[in-house]
Symmetry: C2
Subunit: 471 residues, 2 copies
């Protein structure tokens, strides 16, 4: 008996060591562990592989797949049992998931999808290629298939698409005790986790919500209607960015989703929202840099496609901006120093524009900037632009005087910097505000416009002033 | 009787109309409602003000304060009852909160802070000016004061600072029924909301967690130890960005926080994490743009201070980069067209660098880029840079030939673009990787470096090639 316990302890200890090896202190995958897995795959050591994988949470297996090469990943797929597969499918990056889905038999997939929540299941089905989707759908029970088709009928990035159809509702007239008894009886049919019970009227409209912890605090005879709180209903067509805003603002853990008739059809939980917030923040960073996300495992061609259009657009706007220089060729021929200094005005102006733009895009995303205060914010940007421009202009004028001992050249570049940094601040806030007003994403294409303005005006103001003051 | 009901209905309807007016469809505050509040404040109409405020959730009152002018806001403060004050304090933007705190009497503040969760209470106390902090702390019960002091002893942006000291723990040997009976008895001493019950051993180390919904599904005699799940323990010194990563990765709703000895001292809930994720995403956007957030209500001076250092740094690096142009003054004097075209090479290179940088910073933040795959990602960036450079170089060479009919000039600018876009991609991924390797924030200062490289190499490659090929 003691022998067996010792052995079990040894096994438990070995497992714990492996878990420690797998993840670094910040829960990122350890590169050594990743190469251990790759080695086990390359040498075909199924036993070692099983041992390594068993140390990982499904989310970490999904993460691991992202670090493996495409060929290692394909070899790994047959080693995953169907349950793990079901759990990791919703965690995988989209392009890796498409690859994995191609290598799993349709029957196995249909079973795995059946174990997932409706929103995750729909996402996976959506990623399948047409032939395979038909096969997988055919292999699923009628009810599941209908639920997935219904979820997919909502537009991408809306509440309808984000919601899960599994939720817990109770009629208005129930007591806490009736609710708890019902949950115990129906345990197998309830969602794995739930945080709020939606109280519905006879027309199935949500009239309130009871946090689950509240059920544990009050007596069994308390009517649900007495402890329920008002709900923030979300309609199926609401954009996911707005859903995230509501969750963040009101600190929601879950919220009921209603159809256009006000009937409860699903719920959104905060763990899905965490993903949405990550996504939307990333989209803004990438959009401001003029690049769409091709994903961790994207091929070179996908990445080229995600960046080239913006580079070509930048080339075109820059070609227009440098026309301004062309108009002043004679002046430059007379004083080559102008050519040396002019990029400074354009570049620092570009920096000032990027600053104003990033602040405005962030404020718009948080609803901190709206029609209610836009005039005030624009006026503030103008003041800031003027002040920063004056300081930078003064510094540059001083430096120019030190190097060239030319007062008029110093005044020229100082004034040009003031003008361009001022215009940069104005363009940086007006561009995203205007896009937002017309219902467009303020992060997309703002930066190309702002760079165009600051380059064009940088060259124009410096060379124009030079021809007035200097020559 | 029916008369009274009618009146009540009228009141209820008027309230609902006001709520509809207050918020737009996307739950953003309606600018009209904001100006209604400002009008009521300006005309001193306390009755109308009370009516307007009553239509708002505390989070919306906090939002409203951000849209009011500083003087309107000060006038509003006395109209807020202490409970509303307690609820909005943790919602306010930091600089607005500091302003509000100055205008609330210490005794009222002490009472309001007593009603807040320990993490929010500590944040508010931290924002108080020294004199006032001493007054407020003195007016608080000993136990609350000690809790706040202890929270403030953890470093900013760590789990210790983020956690709340209110949580629900149960000993290993309890059954579900014992737990529920305990909760009903101790309802007043429990946190307002909780999502997991932490099961602790005699040394108060968390050994598992039971989601609250699980308690409702199983019979009263089930031992907690039988239904508990493994926990992701978080240590008090973990950085909040890493805490957010763990919540996102494992879809956590709450997690126990332990001290260095492994003892349970608090919990972090996902609603706090939603705020952290927003914050970290915003910090990256702003850091990439070279600006720190001065906040919605920052004064002009605060904003100037948040932007000027980066502009001066940009000016300095640009001054170094344009030295390259100075070395080629003779060449430019011979062919002024060089001065016209050279900004294109620098600018498009800058765009390519920004793209690579944004993608790398995002991937690092998501732990999608690490030592485990950095070589592969850098190699991929080099390929992409070469391909994008070739396409853009070819387009520009063609355009140059069309305008100037000079084959050698076309070859010069085409080659310069290939070189600079390639170097931009390399710098864009290596700069943040290097910063991360040395434990620095990869978003901060990467962009200044990348712009420096692309400007310097843009001028050097174009003018250098020109002097070799053209002149």
């Amino acid at each position: 008996m003691s022998r067996v316990t010792d052995d079990l302890n040894d096994v438990a200890e070995a497992d714990e060591d492996l878990e420690d090896l797998a993840l670094e202190d910040d829960y990122a995958l350890n590169p050594e562990f990743v190469s251990d897995v790759a080695d086990a795959l390359d040498s075909g050591n199924a036993e070692r592989l099983r041992e390594l994988l068993s140390a990982l949470h499904p989310a970490d297996v999904a993460d691991l797949m992202g670090f493996l090469s495409a060929s290692d990943r394909e070899e790994l797929i047959p080693h995953l049992d169907p349950e793990t597969l079901a759990e990791i499918l919703s965690e995988l990056d989209s392009e890796i998931r498409e690859d994995v889905l191609e290598h799993v038999p349709s029957a196995t997939l249909a079973k795995a999808i059946g174990e997932m929540e409706s929103d995750d299941a729909a996402d996976v089905v959506d990623d399948l290629e047409d032939d395979k989707r038909a096969e997988v759908m055919a292999a699923m029970p009628e009810q599941e298939r209908a639920a997935i088709e219904s979820t997919l009928s909502y537009e991408d990035e809306t509440a309808g698409r984000l919601m899960q159809r599994e939720f817990v509702a109770a009629p208005q007239f129930w007591t806490v005790g009736q609710a708890i008894d019902h949950f115990r009886r129906e345990a197998d049919n309830l969602p794995e986790l739930f945080f709020d019970i939606y109280v519905v009227d006879p027309a199935y409209k949500p009239v309130g919500a009871v946090p689950v912890s509240q059920l544990l605090k009050v007596g069994r005879r308390t009517p649900l209607a007495q402890i329920m709180e008002p709900v923030n209903e979300i309609t199926t067509d609401l954009d996911q960015e707005e859903v995230a805003y509501i969750f963040d603002k009101y600190h929601l853990i879950s919220a009921p989703v209603v159809d256009p008739g006000g009937r409860l059809v699903g719920q959104i939980t905060v763990d899905d929202i965490v993903g949405v917030i990550q996504e939307e923040g990333e989209e803004d960073i990438l959009a401001l840099a003029g690049v769409s996300d091709a994903g961790r495992d994207a091929g070179v061609w996908d990445i080229v496609r995600s960046r080239l259009p913006w580079l070509v657009l930048a080339l075109a706007t820059e070609a227009v901006a440098v026309q301004a220089i062309g108009a002043f060729q004679d002046e430059i021929a007379k004083l080559v120093t102008l050519a040396v200094l002019m990029p400074i005005v354009a570049s620092v102006g570009g920096n000032a524009g990027t600053q104003a733009l990033a602040v405005a895009v962030r404020a718009l995303a948080n609803r901190e900037l709206s029609a209610a205060n836009s005039m005030r914010i624009v006026a503030r940007e103008m003041t800031v632009g003027l002040m920063n421009g004056s300081v930078v202009g003064l510094i540059m004028a001083g430096a120019t005087w030190m190097f060239f001992q030319d007062v008029r050249l110093s005044i020229t570049i100082g004034l040009a910097l003031i003008i361009n940094i001022f215009l940069a601040a104005v363009a940086g806030v007006l561009a995203p505000l205007t896009l937002e007003r017309f219902g467009r994403d303020p992060a997309v294409s703002s930066s190309v416009f702002v760079t165009f303005v600051t380059d064009l005006m940088g060259f124009l103001s410096f060379l124009g002033l030079a021809s007035l003051i200097l020559l």
